[in-house]
Symmetry: C2
Subunit: 423 residues, 2 copies
């Protein structure tokens, strides 16, 4: 691209991005992250969040003082309670959930298996005609694969729904699919590709009208979009801590089970840590009271350490302020796309109404696979999603407007405007 | 105890312990562990191994340079392969298993669920009459609870076997239980309480004669007792990395599936990381070739970091040398128990033949619960196991003879000799 072509795309200037940063009330948080000073445009915090600077020292300190210093005594001095305590802390800071309903452990996929199995087995026991799991075709692969596996092993049906192009899952989409045959509706709060945000309260009300349970996947919202699990009446939920909760690659997941369901639901992966009295080591599995019954093996204490560092920032900033910055960032991304990328044929696959989207923006173009590869070589890091999507992931506390501007300018450099037709 | 009573128990002297340390060819490894210089007798390395000193820096470095520096790019630069590569490394150093049969991930309990389900579902599909899981009553709680849960959900029977008092599971014990109705035999290589070591080769041959599959739990042997999974013909195995592999509290587990079974076994927790092409995110679950199909969610990369540090020591020392020190330590523990504790009525619940035991020693006495509590208050850390057991866990590369001596002297201080009958 020549300087003249580049100039054509002003007034979306770097100076404007800098002004947005200067006016950002949360800008001060960014320097607490590793790499904030690097010349990198990191637009993939929705896949893997940056570590906090404090996390490196915390991990070393944990190894030397907690693990090394306390050794097995650590279990009596906090580790045994840690899955519940960290769960409560996630719940308070990000989930709109009262204590005693959230635990940390396993991977999202394993927790989703346990909750879905608990839910469908309970529903089938109540009413053998409830043999359908409703899930949308655009849901994240793990969610779809797990549902298919569970349906096969429990002799259930999968009822697929499909949102219209450029829309998300809604009461309209689910209306025809949910009925007296529905055991469970599995939904993602924010769609992993398009970023559509589901009206969970409305969808949950619909499901409940028909006696179905709602299992909500929070992977693409928790930590960036306010969640009101108790207020919405959600039954069960799972979520991830390595995206907007910055827990590190493969960090443990969390799950939520509403108080009212805890005594009636049991999950099938009956390990010792879900037992009512794990250290008695008695014959016969008896599920613990409360959320502990959703644990299975020894809790991942080392891997849980980084999560609290990000929660501290969210607690300090408040999830509402985080959401406000997320909306500002996604709005700016869409503005930049309209100005810089639409001339090249890039389309925005994410809702333009901020109330309808999460914290990432999908940009579509037939050449996006090669564009993303070229961006990575230039230290601009979004991710690619089949077949033609570039996801701009905007982690509100670690992403600057300047970095976002630089990233989308780089996309524009790689996708010159199409010549006008007929010229 | 008076000094006169204390003197009675010589010649089991501290000087002798020091001489054993001086003659120990592996003594040099101990100083590489955190806390080696502390005045602590740590006899619970079979529950939670000490961290290596190098691990603290490795964790900080991982946070700053790998996670923080490479961010999402880390998945393309090694993390995606890490569960298989670390699995192969564990296999080579400790399992007697060729590459391509071991992966790291999840907890032991979750992996055991996945492998047991894969095995029993496969067996039932081959021959619907194979509806029994054979397991011993002395097996670790998680193993027993999981088997009961799977039996209930898959409509199978649990066939419990019971080893005689003071013996372990053997061909004799299993002979009557294993037959054409057996789907799976689940065994622990080393019994978590008594320390009995199973002759896995013999038991596996028996199971195979009857068409049953063997699932081996290596939690209490891996890293301390040589394992020959390929040589013994074991079908499936799981193990833990926070005991003798010093991975830290709640470190991820590993599982082994013999080459010959990989294509025919599928596990039920169908997450995206077990898919043949995880990042294609296509409709429909298709299990990956090879060991990747036993993965489910995003691999726990942060939590995997410490494991390599201990493997490096085992590779340097060799598992055979580790075993030789383990035998020397357990023998010394039994000698000390005979000299110092038998007069108080303490009995040894672990085989006296070193070929029949793992790397911990069970000492039994009706007052052991209170004794262990009192020991902890004195910085002597074994663990207690219901109803009357003190376990002396001896992690060969981090435990000194002096520390063991000090610990069992402290037990003797708390359990004075019984007065002779009739006096």
């Amino acid at each position: 691209m020549t300087p003249a072509e580049s100039a054509r795309t002003e007034p979306v200037t770097a100076a404007h991005a800098a002004a947005l940063d200067a006016a950002d009330p949360l800008a001060r948080f960014r320097k607490r992250f590793v790499g904030a000073e690097d010349d990198l445009s990191y637009l993939d915090g929705n896949s893997l969040g940056r570590p906090l600077r404090i996390t490196a020292g915390r991990m070393a300190d944990f190894v030397e003082r907690s693990w090394g210093g306390r050794l097995i005594r650590g279990w009596d001095e906090g580790w045994f309670e840690a899955p519940l305590e960290l769960g409560d802390r996630i719940a308070a800071a990000t989930l709109g959930a009262a204590p005693g309903q959230t635990v940390v452990g396993d991977s999202t996929s394993v927790l989703l298996y346990k909750l879905l199995r608990a839910a469908v087995d309970h529903q089938a026991a109540r009413d053998p005609r409830r043999r359908e799991i409703v899930v949308d075709r655009d849901n994240f692969p793990t969610d779809r694969y797990l549902v298919e596996g569970i349906a096969a092993e429990r002799d259930l049906q999968v009822r697929w729904v499909q949102a219209p192009p450029d829309a998300g899952v809604s009461v309209d989409v689910l209306g025809e699919a949910v009925g007296e045959q529905t055991a469970v509706v599995l939904l993602s709060h924010v769609a992993y590709q398009s970023g559509h945000l589901v009206d969970v309260g409305a969808v949950t009300a619909l499901a409940h009208e028909h006696g179905a349970l709602v299992v909500l996947d929070l992977c693409h919202s928790v930590g960036a979009v306010p969640v009101e699990l108790d207020g919405w009446g959600v039954d069960l939920a799972v979520g991830c801590t390595y995206k907007y909760l910055n827990g590190g690659p493969g960090a443990p997941a969390f799950c939520y089970v509403a108080d009212r369901h805890q005594a009636e639901l049991t999950q099938p992966v009956q390990g010792w840590m879900g037992h009512a009295d794990p250290f008695a080591m008695v014959p016969g599995y008896r599920p613990a009271e409360g959320m502990r019954r959703f644990l299975t093996g020894t809790p991942p204490i080392v891997a849980m350490q980084p999560i609290g560092d990000m929660l501290e920032l969210i607690e300090e900033a408040s999830i509402e302020a985080v959401r406000a910055k997320s909306v500002a960032l996604t709005s700016y991304a869409i503005d930049l796309a309209d100005e810089l990328l639409a001339p090249a044929g890039v389309t925005v696959g994410t809702p333009r109404d901020p109330a309808l989207r999460g914290s990432h923006v999908l940009l579509r173009h037939p050449r996006m696979r090669e564009v993303v590869a070229a961006l990575w070589a230039r230290d601009v890091i979004p991710d690619f999603r089949n077949p033609d999507g570039l996801r701009v992931g905007l982690s509100p506390l670690s992403t600057s407007f300047t970095e976002l501007h630089r990233g989308l300018r780089a996309v524009a450099d790689l996708l010159p405007p199409r010549p006008a037709v007929g010229l």
